[in-house]
């Protein structure tokens, strides 16, 4: 069983693709430029001081790109991406709140500090709400774009499948399930770019519209001025030209993976000159478009305006016609409705005066605010700590937090199981009953006192635990057979024992037959050999 050492593909990273810094920079700029449209709209509608938003948007974009890049690394595949991203977003929003307050002209609301307890809504004013939405949108757009480019990279299983053609090998079965094809990823990126671009353009265009009330109290719309301001124009140009360049890069990512999987050798000139050709095409078309008669849009615009106004008037006429017809139809029923009399208007009531007893049991008015702050702080701290921990920087001591998280996850699992059942409350009681028994850590159990099947499972899990401590952790998505492949690759001298242990575990865990005591004893012998071999190994780091 102990053949030649298998190459380890688990740590493969398509560095040639994923490590292009200029692409990350382009995504950052592209993402930050989406604030131009909404900002133009807010600038036209409010008098807020928003000088901080550009650096904030850039920071949000950098954060999104950086987290997507880290989550795409092989050793980060098993991290909880949702928790990490939620934590990053929470930290971003907190930092934005502080930044807005720190900006001159947007200071903290005046008043005594107790006001914060009584009125927690002071935290979220309209400006913060809008800016938070913008920053979150920038962060989301950057993270999504960067994640799309990470997904376009060549994956470890594709490398394994190309380099190992032996389908009878367990590694050959790693092959190639990709829930989303690369073509779909490119289409997703392009669709998002188009959709967000539409919103940005629309917002920028609407910022030029002046809404007012005319002499006869009729709402009317007018264009404040022709054209857009220079920063908005620059941001839109940046968004669309960079978007086209990135679309070309996404296309390259799709093609190079397709060529790789089809066994085609691509010349270095193809990938090397791709950016040049893309840039030339975009810049050439952009330069040629400058020479087109742009200003001739006025006549067409007026024609479209006329058509739209005509359609609106026709729609209104149709609406009034339908209302008239409906009222004619309802005329015979008017006598029935005439008998109903309106209730007399209610007299204004004096406010109730609380009694002495009510005064004694009334809660203090700051309690609701304090509760809000406490919950908010707990959520932000939890998410922030999760994000920092995911980045490898433990912010708090792990013990208590881990226990609390384990308890919370246990509740979540049981609630989900109860909700899935036909009798939710009965199911909850049933599953809650054994929880009362304290769960021992796995290393304190006595293997000899267990049933044979449980003993085999216990020994296998101990092996997994020790192998993880030695640097070959089992990712949650891997089956025991796949994990055995990992162990063989990094631990070839113990390959027969690993195979035997895995087979025994699969039989005990998934097999229909009973496991005999002799078989469990044999597995224990295998396990002892494995443990002896593992003791000689050095842990990670």
């Amino acid at each position: 069983m102990s053949g030649p050492a298998r190459p380890a593909y688990g740590g493969f990273r398509d560095a040639a693709w994923a490590g292009a810094p200029w692409r990350s920079a382009a995504i950052v700029l592209l993402s930050a430029s989406i604030i131009a449209g909404p900002l133009a709209l807010l600038h036209a509608a409010t008098a807020w001081r928003m000088g901080y938003i550009l650096p904030a948007a850039l920071a949000a974009a950098v954060l999104g790109v950086a987290s997507a890049a880290r989550l795409g690394r092989p050793d980060w595949r098993d991290r909880r991406g949702a928790a990490l991203r939620a934590g990053e977003l929470a930290l971003l929003l907190v930092a934005l709140r502080v930044l807005i307050w720190a900006t001159p002209g947007n200071g903290l609301p005046a008043g005594d500090p107790g006001r914060w307890l009584r009125e927690p809504a002071l935290l979220i004013d309209a400006q913060y709400l809008w800016m938070a939405l913008l920053a979150a949108a920038v962060w989301w757009f950057a993270a999504s774009g960067a994640a799309d480019f990470q997904e376009l990279a060549i994956r470890a299983d594709e490398v394994a499948a190309r380099e190992r053609h032996d389908l009878t090998d367990a590694a050959g079965r790693w092959r190639l399930y990709m829930p989303t094809t690369r073509r779909e990823i490119v289409a997703r990126f392009g669709g998002r770019w188009v959709l967000v671009g539409t919103a940005v353009v629309l917002a920028a265009a609407l910022s030029r519209v002046q809404v007012g009330v005319g002499e006869r109290q009729i709402l009317h719309f007018a264009l404040a001025e022709r054209g857009l301001s220079l920063p908005v124009t620059a941001a839109l140009a940046c968004y669309f030209l960079l978007g086209l360049a990135l679309l070309g890069q996404a296309r390259l990512g799709e093609l190079r993976a397709r060529w790789y999987n089809d066994g085609l050798a691509a010349d270095a000139a193809v990938t090397g000159r791709w950016g040049l050709w893309t840039g030339l095409a975009v810049v050439g078309v952009a330069a040629a478009a400058l020479m087109l008669p742009i200003g001739g849009a006025g006549v067409l615009g007026r024609a479209i305006e006329f058509v739209l106004a005509l359609m609106a008037r026709l729609g209104l006429a149709l609406f009034f016609l339908l209302v008239g017809l409906l009222s004619l139809l309802l005329t015979p029923f008017r006598s029935l409705l005439a008998g109903t009399s309106r209730p007399p208007p209610a007299l204004p009531q004096e406010p109730a005066v609380p009694t002495q007893a009510e005064m004694l049991v009334r809660l203090p008015d700051w309690l609701g605010g304090a509760l809000f702050w406490a919950v908010l702080a707990a959520v932000v701290v939890y998410l922030g700590a999760a994000a920092l921990r995911a980045h490898g920087k433990p912010a708090v001591r792990r013990g208590a937090l881990d226990r609390w998280r384990a308890w919370w996850r246990g509740r979540g699992v049981r609630i989900a199981a109860a909700l899935a059942g036909a009798r939710p409350f009965a199911r909850m009681r049933r599953v809650q009953a054994p929880v009362a028994e304290p769960v021992k850590p796995i290393r304190f159990r006595r293997a000899g006192a267990m049933l044979p099947a449980a003993r085999v499972r216990y020994l296998y899990l101990r092996m997994v635990e020790r192998a993880g401590a030695a640097g070959t952790a089992r990712p949650p998505h891997k089956t025991p057979a796949e994990y055995a492949g990992d162990l063989d690759a990094s631990w070839p001298e113990a390959s027969p024992d690993v195979e035997a242990m895995t087979s025994a575990f699969e039989a005990a865990r998934y097999g229909a037959g009973e496991v005999s005591g002799e078989a469990a004893a044999a597995v224990e012998g295998v396990w002892r050999r494995l443990m002896r071999a593992l003791r000689g190994r050095q842990g990670p780091g």
Binding site: R183, R226, A237, L247, W274, V285, I294, G295, A297, L308
Partner: protein, 401 residues
């Protein structure tokens, strides 16, 4: 990105309605990139020409270097061009080229690979498929750029120096032991006159020179108008040896054809097997002399495959109907069964010179030979190369120990 045109239309409406020149400019840029990409990719792929240059006929063991010339004849560069050549895997020395290239205007690239004539047959080389597209994913085109060509791997030819094929034809170029067939065109010297010699045989110049009558010595010779009748009826071969024996039969036929053509004889071929190129079962090439005829025969032997066709005994009379008197018919067959011998006997009676060559090893071949002898048919067992060596020695030369 299929909805990009709708998106552009929407942007155009917004730009026209709100009189925003810059958005109109964006529409120009996006529409321009979209249109340019589609036009560029479609036009560039039409300017690609792929040619395949190679020696399309090889003998076993020879190599044929295949050069695939990919040329961009247009003035537009091609950012990427996918070229996939297909070649028979049994002949390839490595994989045929499957590359992605970037071609500048009027640039050509030569992709070279090698095919080795490992096994007799007619093989398809190609077609070469090309594919290209734009830089943004708006358009992609693919097609067949070079048709499939044929590579003929001739059967193995074992050089023979002397093949014992008799003939009734009195004139020819192959020396015969029978003085009856002395060829007046093959002068072998002079000898003294003996009574009974015809007067026209006297060489008057030599007689004058020697002072006594001298008679020209002529070398006996025969002309072998030969038809090689190759039995490729699958049912004639034993099941276990079917593959190897039929290939050996083709090698024997090719070697005989090469020998006879080398002796400037007219050679023809009749096969009751399958022509792998046309799908025809059973075909005949009339006997003709010359190297071109030899190459034609070798090519037909390269194409021949076993088939569930008619048995040679039944098919042979029709195939030999056009042969003149005295022509030799060499039946290359896995066995000499009674029906085949009877058919050869009938050919003998019709004035032809049938010869049986048995290519499968047969323990009681002596019985076959004796039965054939009684019918006036020469029979040879050539079941391997050792048997063929008898035809590689001059008459009188002994087999090496």
């Amino acid at each position: 990105m299929r909805d990009l045109p709708f998106y552009l239309l929407f942007l155009l409406l917004v730009a026209l309605l709100l009189r925003l020149d810059f958005i109109l400019y964006l529409v120009y840029v996006l529409a321009g990139v979209y249109a340019l990409s589609r036009w560029w990719a479609g036009r560039a792929i039409r300017q690609v020409r792929v040619r395949r240059l190679f020696a399309d006929r090889v003998f076993p063991g020879e190599r044929s270097e295949v050069a695939l010339e990919v040329e961009n004849r247009g003035v537009l560069p091609m950012p990427w061009l996918r070229v996939e050549e297909s070649a028979p895997s049994t002949l390839g020395e490595g994989e045929p080229p499957r590359r992605v290239l970037s071609l500048g205007p009027r640039q050509s690239v030569r992709l070279v690979y090698t095919l080795v004539g490992r096994r007799r047959g007619v093989y398809e080389v190609g077609p070469a498929r090309v594919g290209s597209g734009d830089l943004f994913g708006f358009a992609e085109f693919s097609g067949q750029a070079a048709q499939a060509d044929r590579l003929v791997v001739y059967p193995r030819v074992i050089p023979l120096t002397h093949v014992a094929l008799g003939s009734h034809a009195p004139l020819g170029t192959i020396a015969s032991r029978q003085p009856l067939y002395a060829d007046p065109s093959r002068f072998a010297g002079v000898r003294g006159y003996r009574p009974g010699d015809p007067l026209r045989a006297i060489s008057w110049k030599s007689s004058a020179h020697a002072g006594e009558l001298q008679v020209r010595k002529l070398e006996p010779a025969v002309l072998l108008t030969t038809l090689l009748a190759l039995d490729l009826s699958a049912g004639a071969y034993s099941r276990q040896l079917r593959g190897s024996s039929s290939e050996w039969a083709i090698v024997v036929a090719a070697s005989l054809a090469s020998y006879l053509a080398g002796e400037r004889q007219a050679v023809g071929l009749a096969i009751n097997g399958l022509d792998s190129l046309t799908g025809e079962v059973g075909w005949t090439a009339e006997p003709r002399p010359g190297r071109r005829q030899l190459m034609r025969i070798l090519e037909q032997l390269a194409r021949a495959q076993l088939a569930d066709g008619p048995a040679l005994a039944g098919w042979l009379p029709g195939a030999t109907a056009g042969l003149g008197w005295g022509a030799t018919v060499v039946a290359v067959s896995p066995s000499g069964d009674e029906t085949l011998l009877a058919a050869l006997g009938r050919l003998r009676r019709a004035g032809l010179n049938p010869v049986l060559v048995v290519v499968e090893p047969y323990g009681q071949f002596g019985v076959v030979r004796e039965r054939a002898r009684r019918l006036g048919v020469a029979a040879h067992e050539v079941s391997d190369e050792d048997d063929l060596r008898a035809w590689q020695r001059r008459p009188g030369e002994r087999r090496a120990a």
